[in-house]
Amino acid sequence: MSRPSDYVDAGARPQAEGPGDGIVQPKLGFVGTLRFIWRQLTSMRTALLLLLLLAVAAVPGSLVPQRSSDPNGVIQYFDNNPDLAPMLESIQMFDVYGSVWFSSIYLLLFVSLIGCVIPRTKHHFQAMRSRPPRTPARLQRLAAHTEVTLEGGNAGTAIESAHALLKKSGYRTELYQGRNGDVSVSAERGYLRETGNLVFHSALVGMLLTVGIGGGFGYAAQRVIVEGQTFVNTLLDYNSFNPGRFYNPDDLAPFAMTLDKFDVTYEQKNLNAYGQPIDFTTRVTMRLPTGETEKRVVRVNDPLRFEGADIYLLGNGYAPKITVRDPEGSVVWTDSVPFLPQDGNLTSLGVIKIPDGLDEQIGMIGFLYPTAYKMETGAYTSTYPDLVFPVLTLNVFAGDLGINDGAPKSVYELNVDDMTQLSGGESGVDSIELMPGQSQELPDGRGTITFENVNPDAGAPADQDATTTDYAGSVARFASFDVHTDPTVGWVLTFAILILGGLLTSLFVPRRRVWIKATDNADGTVRVEYAGLARGEDPGLGEAVDALAFRHGTALGLQR
């Protein structure tokens, strides 16, 4: 931004001081210091440095889990790194994008950009309205210079046609009368370069503002839905909800979404990718309070837009339907419990809590293996994600689930501090193992548990050793959704286009001055000089001046 030190009206260069005087710096004073800091801050160099720093400062946000996007990850991190985590916490590593240091960088960048753009805009505006400068006396001194001597004609007509030619080529022109009887046209082009540059910078500020503040007007929320169940877009019905700073949850659009069917296609031809999911199709029914319904489909990377909300498919898994009966045989609890997938073959972990109906509260930690395979160690593993040979194993705990006094507990964890283990592990009792349709007694005669086959066409419970039974559809699936609105997307796109357009314009539009001067010689010929001056990098200047001379010659009817 600063002008070169040897510009024309810089005044005399400081003379070398005599030896022994030392270097005497002028005192800046308070205002002077402020001005100095302001100059430094608003220099292009600082802006670039800050932009780079912003990119670097954003890196830790992807190395360490962030509260804003992955609060559970943060808790995990604290558990796994009890020494490191509090240290990172003290420098706001878990809230990088809201931290003091990150904010200072982008606020400084803001100030720097604005402080840079405003004076430049003012300067550019004035430059656009001013006339091209007077033609220099000695054009041959300029870097790009060429000269033609015309037989016949006169300087006036030569310049007239030059004037027309330059105007047609998009130059701003001005005619000048020289002292030695010569006439010349002074022309300048490429104001668009600076305009582009300013658009680029302003759009960058706009982009930062949009992302920084605009994001606060949206929200992101998550919800797990089991097949056949319905979610209603109210705060009540979300599993978790992350509002933007300025978002009012009363503004949630009222609608209901029923998960009708969740289909997965698995790769079965390519043995190297055997069992990889190829396609997820989520069939949903949307319903408005007015009663209107609409069948829609949600796919990965193809969100459902409905009533201003974007609904993304986030994850999926199995939700085995479990029924628990008391010792007398009456059902005390039944539900489809979402089990969280632990690996690519959907070995899934789930927690089942039976708070009521039995003598003591029961908690169960279960593993579901969609295609179970017993390893040599005796433990199960899943070898394929679809339901070929589903097995559910459960470790049973009895005692206090810890939810009666109103304190919230994680639905994906079982706190066994106040519970005794009845089966599995070190209890000495085998874990419960069930296939769809089978039932088993709970330890100590506490009742029975059934792993329901939800396929309506399923026959009688299968024999444990049978391998021919078709278990397709025996376990319901669940899908998790991320619902969010981001009112800024349109603006972000607009600013992105402006940034790119501005940058390209400022890079590829050359800014140059061109002069054409004609002088009547004493012998009746006319001397025409062409010269160009680059403003900034302009490797094409020489060629451009030559081309101009050629076209001017053609226009004047020069024979070649």
Binding site: R67, S68, D70, P71, N72, G73, V74, I75, I213, G216, G228, Q229, T230, F231, V232, N233, T234, L235, L236, D237, Y238, N239, S240, F241, N242, P243, R245, F246, P249, D250, L252, P254, F255, A256, T258, R287, P289, T323, V331, V332, W333, T334, D335, K353, P355, D356, G357, I403, N404, D405, G406, A407, P408, K409, S410, V411, Y412, E413
Partner: protein
Amino acid sequence: MTRRMRAAAIGIAAALLLTGCASDPLAEQYKEGSNKGYIAGDGSVTEIPEAERGESISFSGTTEGGDQISSVDFAGEVLVVNFWYAACAPCRAEAPDLQELSAAYDGKGAQFIGVNVYDQADTALSFNETYGITYPSILDVQDGAVKLAFTGTVPPKAVPTTIVLDKEGRVSARILGQLKEASILSTLVSDAIDE
């Protein structure tokens, strides 16, 4: 820029900054990452004066006992609608208070109706047995009809939420989260009955 515009701009900027800095309980809850699976309320009470109430709400559904009930069945009565589910810790904690109040207002102009947002019938029945709940609950997990009916101007924003509907079916009060004291709800209900 005129002086007034400048003052307005500063005012707006200050307001944005202040709202930005104030801690938002909903955002805090998200950052806790407790995996509790529901949005909790802080027990805050909203009362709506009679003149400012919105549309009247009507709803219907199947109860845990298999009966069809509808808000129309209780026309002219004050309705207390409690959104809950069995494994929700604050719902369990407030259940005795709700049962006590429901018994106290039985036949005195107010009817309690539960809306179970997650459970199946058997699970809800076991809960009722634990806490001796005698009022009916509509099971809403499969079709969400009742939740959708309540997405009006004063929506339920937490589990549990207790909403008092006046005699005309309009929302007259809302308690977000666990009931702090039975007397709070009792006052809201008797106010609605006395209107």
